[in-house]
Symmetry: C2
Subunit: 220 residues, 2 copies
DNA sequence: AGCTTTTCTGATTTTGTAGTCAGAAAGTGA
DNA sequence: TCACTTTCTGACTACAAAATCAGAAAAGCT
């Protein structure tokens, strides 16, 4: 078995491994870990089920391997954030939220998986926190802490603020089945998407701003 | 097998059935449907595992039966809402959100289960929408629509607004494992709970208010 | 007490899925 | 062509959990 975490290895096998990871990420994000079966992944990836065990040790490692695709997304976000380094904390936070919303649209898997595992707890959430979302959340909370110190954000506990902002965004964007079935609304509206993003952002973040923070924003 | 949906029946059996439902609701809300085992429920309820099949047809029906406990919670909410019938829509909405946050604290199962199933879709979500949360959500969306017509809320799609408000609240209150493990924060703070509720409410709903809605609120 | 019904259990079967293994096919280099 | 490695499959095992069933215990009734 080739080392599946060694990205640059084995040209032929890596192609199928990548296809498997892709299918796995899709299914894990839509159904959650337990509802996904290796047989289902194998079928969708057009390989036999033992092929999964050739490329990946077990189901848990396949899950982690699929998640690593999201690390690239987070790294890209961090890269884009760098250009705002010298802006006030509240503006950086706004930009981070804007990026987060765009990521949630483009990579629904991220938000859904974090939410699914975040509800249930357990070792996969621990892994996610350690490897992917933990450092990112701490950076954001630090920004929030700074913005509060600046008097731009209301004195809400920074960690709770970040969780609120993100789960609110994840909810609007990712609770598609709920909305579709509950309201008969189709949330997949690429045309109005950008406008929606702005409204969600303003609505969510706007509630936490102080008057000073609001004024600061209009100046920018 | 007695009809488990007939609430007034069989005094002795109903006691254990109720105990089983209670345990089931707790486990389903913490772990999600698939991670819960009938054996685990049986152990926690101090009965043998076939006893579950005596009182409930199968795992799915036990789940639905446990969920019906939440119908009482929603009915109670509706009853409390009645006193606000003549207030402006935006004030009713604020009250509804306040109740929702309190419910989320007191009955974490509700929010968690809806969120878990809402992400994954499927027949259980369909059932929830049909039997429990659908009618409630439509009522709230109608209130939002009215508040927007009154000029008190910004013209955000009412359904999305409701989803945003609730998932934001659910997130802050229910993503306890995520917060605990990710931030090292213990979110179980009954002392500060009421204050937190107010802040969450102001922050979430505040972002959607127009200037007029803000003014209206300060008059109340 | 004796009979009947309800409530529950121990033992067992069934089912679905993760994981294994021996070996076939496909690709690689001499 | 032939040896060799990588990649993959069909058939299988292992196991956990849902569901069943025959019958025991408890409760209720006369």
């Amino acid at each position: 078995m080739p080392d599946a975490t060694d990205w640059s290895s084995t040209p032929k096998g890596e192609a199928t491994a990548a296809r498997i990871r892709e299918v796995a990420l899709d299914q894990f994000s839509r159904l959650g870990f337990e509802r996904v079966t290796l047989g289902g992944i194998a079928r969708a990836a057009r390989v036999s089920q033992p092929a999964l065990h050739y490329h990946f040790q077990d189901k848990a490692q396949l899950w982690r391997s699929a998640m690593l695709a999201l690390a690239a997304v987070i790294a890209e976000e961090e890269r884009l954030m760098a250009v705002a380094r010298d802006l006030p904390a509240v503006s950086q936070l706004r930009m981070a939220m804007r990026l987060f919303l765009q990521i949630s649209w483009n990579h629904p898997a991220l938000g859904r998986i974090v939410a699914l595992e975040g509800m249930a707890g357990g070792e996969r959430l621990e892994w996610l926190n350690r490897r992917l979302i933990g450092p990112r959340n701490r950076r954001l909370a630090e920004l929030a802490r700074q913005a509060i110190a600046d008097g731009d954000l209301r004195p809400f506990p920074p960690e709770m603020l970040i969780v609120t902002l993100q789960t609110g965004g994840v909810g609007v964007i990712n609770l598609a089945p709920l909305m579709r079935e509950g309201f008969g609304v189709d949330p997949d509206l690429p045309a109005a998407r950008a406008a929606h993003e702005e409204m969600i952002l303003e609505a969510l973040l706007g509630g936490f701003l102080t008057e000073r923070g609001r004024a600061r924003e209009s100046v920018r």
